[in-house]
Amino acid sequence: MTARVGVVTFPGSLDDKDAARAVALAGADPVPLWHDDADLKGVDAVVLPGGFSYGDYLRCGAIARFAPLMGEIVPAARSGALPVLGICNGFQILAESHLLPGALTRNASLRFVNRDQVLRVENARTAWTGGYSERQEILVVLKSGEGCYVADEQTLDHLEAEERVLARYVGENPNGSYRGIAGVTNEHGNIVGLMPHPEHAVEALTGPSTDGLGFFASILTHLGARTPEPA
């Protein structure tokens, strides 16, 4: 059986179709999930896509966090059982849900940044990055106005000590993120939050590279290893 990866649509999600397409290109079955429907439909993993859920009112992700479907996702993810990838707004939702430490705030430049961006994968042992090698540099797309990752010094030191920094920006820091952090993971490595967009770098026709496909291929491998297919 092919792995089933749910992609959640909130009001204001933009990149749910691209995320579903990336899931399909990697060889898994994308399953559309609706924020207001507290039903995970038996998916093996979940992607929280980019966009502007609830218009980014209050704070990015602050209202999406309380969607009925999040009531299903949060405990399953926190226990380490359900792999979840939050991209951009999805990362903001994971931070607001306290599934990942820190928060995403206004870019230090106060400008929306939209560009191709090189990242260095710092942790290639998570459910979503197992297909990369440590310190591999990948080219993906960054497009966000509130992508500045912040946390207190103690939290940052703790993240570094536990090797939970997932990826860092290479070259000039595009948004002022503390210690150049582009993504982080939880202690189980099943939850990953990433500000840039791997789902926009999966095809030569539309992306700057196909480096982003690794996230979706990694989860497929991870799920395959966890639940071997019957012979």
Binding site: L58, F66, A95, H98, T105, R106, N107, G176
Partner: protein
């Protein structure tokens, strides 16, 4: 009906580029002696009935859960004057 004010501010250690931009604009416009500006949010919450301890506690709970992200923000709850 009573009104409660919730002020939300970024914690001091969190960078506030909007406040910095406002401070810079202030100096450019000739407002003297402005050293720093921090930008926050003010919520006015109207509640049913009297502002008793229970109602106050409920607004405090809402501030902690929804209005502020306590990872990066501090809040203060007070009766509207």
């Amino acid at each position: 009906m009573a009104r409660v004010v919730v002020d939300v501010m970024l914690k001091p250690e969190i960078l506030d580029p909007q406040g910095q931009a406002i401070a810079a604009a202030g100096s450019r416009l000739g407002f003297e002696g402005v050293e720093q500006v921090r930008q926050g949010k003010r919520f006015e919450v109207e509640i049913e009935g009297e502002l008793d301890e229970a109602a106050y506690a409920e607004v405090r709970r809402m501030a902690e859960t929804l209005l502020a992200n306590t990872v990066i923000e501090e809040f203060e709850v007070r009766p509207a004057s």
